[in-house]
């Protein structure tokens, strides 16, 4: 039976189980003198039967769907006749695709070698068997579950507790998805990165000064080694982030101070959401703005002053990224500034300090940990920002600290290495995952540290 039909069948069986369970509990209760003699409400008996009936088979169904294909592929590829055995991983994938298409009947078997057709047939056969086994297994499990749920129904059976226990585990599972995601991220970047570091030594990657992955795909040609020195990327990323922070920190901080300390209610109610509009604009829009408006404007402006500004300058990308980060810094700073207790301000004002003296010498120092944490989160956002730099920064890895020149960043390289049709296992694509690993590690450390400070800071004033 088809998997989606099987899924629906299981749900239908579950519904049947619910009515059977509910009915039986009512039937048991009536001779005793009504449902108040049951431990739980009849619906809970029904739900209990439903869970017993549908849950195990659904779990099996999902697991089966996940592991079905890899297992069958493994069996098929393991039993390949010698004349078909692939040499490289790329060939392996190609062959697998071919067999799979043949088995599905998508590809016509005309003109294919007989041995290949045989393999494809065996794959098709395995798939049919797998589907039948799955159907049978699900049905058996559902029946046993249904019977068990029916059998357990008794006046003193604690159906509600039993249902709630299952529910709690389901909720827990949802909460754990966050952990699975993190683990998934770590494994996916780590696994590919390790493969990458097998061909390119770790230290060459982290401390190498030359980045030119393009040469790497021509394995049989001169310069096949390619160079994967990521320092120019790190420097480019830091350069653009520095420009961004140079814009965002003073503006974000001063607007937060003004809104929190000086502005009247009206200004605050209008200016604050207006600034936050900047946070809601998608990054691709900023990228477009940077590439088509800001960069040409800066280039022309530079030309007027006799400066050569690249049309993919770090300055343009950084400026626009800074604008994007302004509301981020201002709202975080606003939070921490308003969290500084009024008594601090009163203490300072009562000494005869002016408002700005109070802000600069008491409020800001008191809010400093929170502000620093906010800036760290902003930096983490800046180095992880992708679209603005993909659209407005360059592709050539140049090792420079001049913001008027074109630089490239870690995220730009990840995107360029992974878009387009590349073989998945070439060092070129693997390098993207190594860069991803670097990016993830750095942002993770920044985030953990910043969130820790923020938490400490909140506790201090609570």
């Amino acid at each position: 039976m088809d998997s989606s039909n099987l899924f629906l069948l299981m749900l239908a069986l579950g519904a049947v189980a619910f009515y059977i369970g509910r009915g039986r509990s009512l039937a048991i209760a009536t001779p005793l003198g009504g449902i108040r003699h049951l431990h739980s409400l009849p619906n809970y008996y029904g739900l209990n039967a439903l869970l017993w009936c549908a849950l195990p088979s659904l779990i099996i169904l999902v697991l089966w769907l996940i592991f079905d294909e890899p297992v069958i592929n493994g069996i098929v590829m393991g039993s390949l006749p010698a004349d078909l055995a692939p040499l490289t991983t790329a060939d392996y994938n190609l062959l697998l695709n071919k067999i799979s298409n043949l088995a599905d009947g998508i590809m016509s078997s005309k003109g294919q070698p007989a041995s290949l057709i045989a393999v494809a047939d065996s794959m098709a056969g395995l798939r049919v068997i797998s589907q039948w086994v799955l159907t049978a297994l699900c049905l058996i499990l559902a029946t046993i579950g249904l019977y068990w749920g029916w059998y357990k129904i008794a006046p003193d059976f604690r159906a509600r507790q039993s249902v709630e226990k299952v529910m709690e585990n389901l909720l827990l599972g949802c909460a754990c998805l966050a952990i699975f995601t993190t683990v998934g991220i770590v494994f996916s970047v780590l696994f590919e990165s390790i493969q990458f570091f097998r061909s390119v030594p770790f230290f060459d990657f982290v401390f190498g000064l030359d980045w030119s992955p393009q040469t790497a795909i021509r394995e049989d040609q001169v310069g096949s080694s390619g160079s994967f020195g990521a320092v120019p990327l790190f420097v480019g990323t830091l350069l653009i982030s520095a420009v961004a922070m140079f814009v965002a920190v003073p503006i974000g901080l001063m607007s937060a101070i003004y809104l929190a300390e000086y502005s009247g209610k009206t200004v605050r109610t209008y200016a604050k959401p207006a600034l936050e509009v900047l946070a809601g604009v998608p990054t691709v829009v900023y990228g477009f703005f940077a590439a088509l408006t800001v960069a040409p404007f800066l280039r022309d402006l530079g030309a007027d002053f006799g400066l050569t500004i690249s049309s993919e300058s770090a300055l343009a990308a950084g400026l626009v990224m800074g604008v994007m980060i302004i509301p981020f810094i201002s709202s975080l700073a606003d939070d921490v500034i308003t969290a500084v207790p009024q008594s601090m301000r009163d203490g300072s004002l009562a000494m005869g300090a002016t408002h700005s003296e109070t802000v600069r010498r008491v409020v800001i120092p008191a809010a400093l940990p929170g502000i620093v944490a906010g800036i760290m989160l902003a930096i983490s956002r800046a180095i992880g920002e992708t679209m603005i730099v993909v659209m407005a920064a360059g592709l050539a890895a140049k090792l420079t600290a001049n913001p008027l020149e074109s630089v490239t960043t870690v995220t730009v390289q990840i995107v360029t290495l992974l878009t387009g049709d590349q073989e998945f296992d070439s060092p070129k694509t693997l390098a993207a995952f190594a860069l991803g690993l670097m990016l993830f590690t750095v942002t993770l450390l920044l985030n953990i540290f910043a969130l820790h400070i923020v938490k400490k800071y909140r506790e201090q004033y609570e």
Binding site: S348, M351, G352
Partner: protein, 288 residues
């Protein structure tokens, strides 16, 4: 002379507003010795509003030089509000409006040409909860002299800090750890630190808003001692919720009730034979 005009003016004002008559009987006229000669501060017909709500009604009173005046009354009677209007700390509250005159050495502190910076340097304040800045003990004391530019050199500053801490009776306890955070001190020490911080700029008047309400009895006793010592050099106005404290530290006591100043008299008299029956009711514990 001045006293007499003010008194008649108050009487006239109260007559001209019969509405208040209906609200609190007799209470609109302050009884006792409100005025004194050569006052450090004098308040005339002070009304304070929070938005539409009036918190203080027609308060007129003098504070003499180097006296300790205590302000008592049930909670919500407006004594803290009144105190905060004496160095314009109410300016920081949105929608707060003060009417009437508050004179410091004869100058109205609400005059538009007056700079609150100068005013607050002359009229310092200590708050209910100790509020040391999150800086070192030294920096806490040095804050005032630094912002006002009172110290010409580092040596000057050290002297001011040491002197203030000594005056606040904290020097012996903290001299070894001047550069540790002020927030690390105990509650009573923190409050004395705040007092030291206030006197570091040599104010003429110190306002204290229930300075002991967050402290334990031993720390309270220490602060009360300090207030007595300070009264030799400073004029002090203290708001307190504890009648015993008022009796212990003050020369004169003012009783506030629902935003009105009911009675001002020498402390001994207020606690032994109050002139007004509301005062009597309060000190005998019938309400409050």
């Amino acid at each position: 002379m001045k006293e007499a005009t003010a008194a008649t003016k108050t009487a006239k004002d109260s007559k001209s507003s019969p509405k208040q008559n209906l609200e609190v009987d007799q209470a609109q006229v302050t009884v006792g010795n409100r005025f004194c000669e050569n006052p450090k501060m004098s308040m005339r017909d002070v009304n304070v509003f929070y938005g539409d709500k009036q918190a203080i009604y027609d308060v007129s009173v003098d504070i003499a030089k180097n006296e300790v005046i205590a302000m008592i009354g049930p909670s919500g009677c407006g004594k803290s509000t009144f105190l905060r209007s004496l160095n314009r700390m109410n300016d920081t509250v949105d929608g707060c409006k003060v009417e009437g005159e508050v004179l410091l050495d004869g100058d109205n502190i609400y005059h538009k040409n007056l700079d609150v910076v100068e005013l607050r340097a002359r009229v310092g304040m200590v708050f209910q909860k100790p509020n040391p800045f999150p800086k070192s003990i030294f920096e806490n004391i040095a804050y005032g002299p630094k912002i006002h530019g009172l110290a010409d050199s580092r040596v000057d500053l050290d002297e001011i800090v040491e002197g203030s801490l000594k005056k606040a009776g904290l020097w012996e306890e903290v001299k070894e750890r001047l550069h540790q955070p002020g927030t690390g001190l105990s509650g009573g020490q923190q409050q004395r630190l705040c007092i030291a911080r206030a006197i570091a700029v040599s104010p003429e008047v110190i306002l204290m808003d229930e300075p002991c309400s967050a402290l334990d009895p031993i720390a309270t006793a220490r602060i009360e001692e300090l207030i007595e010592e300070l009264s030799q050099n400073f004029t002090i106005a203290i708001v307190t919720h504890s009648m015993q404290q008022a009796a212990r530290v003050s020369n004169r006591t003012a009783y506030f009730h629902l935003g009105k100043l009911i009675e001002v008299n020498p402390t001994e008299q207020v606690f032994t034979m109050p002139e007004h029956q509301l005062t009597e009711a309060y000190i005998t514990g019938r309400f409050g």
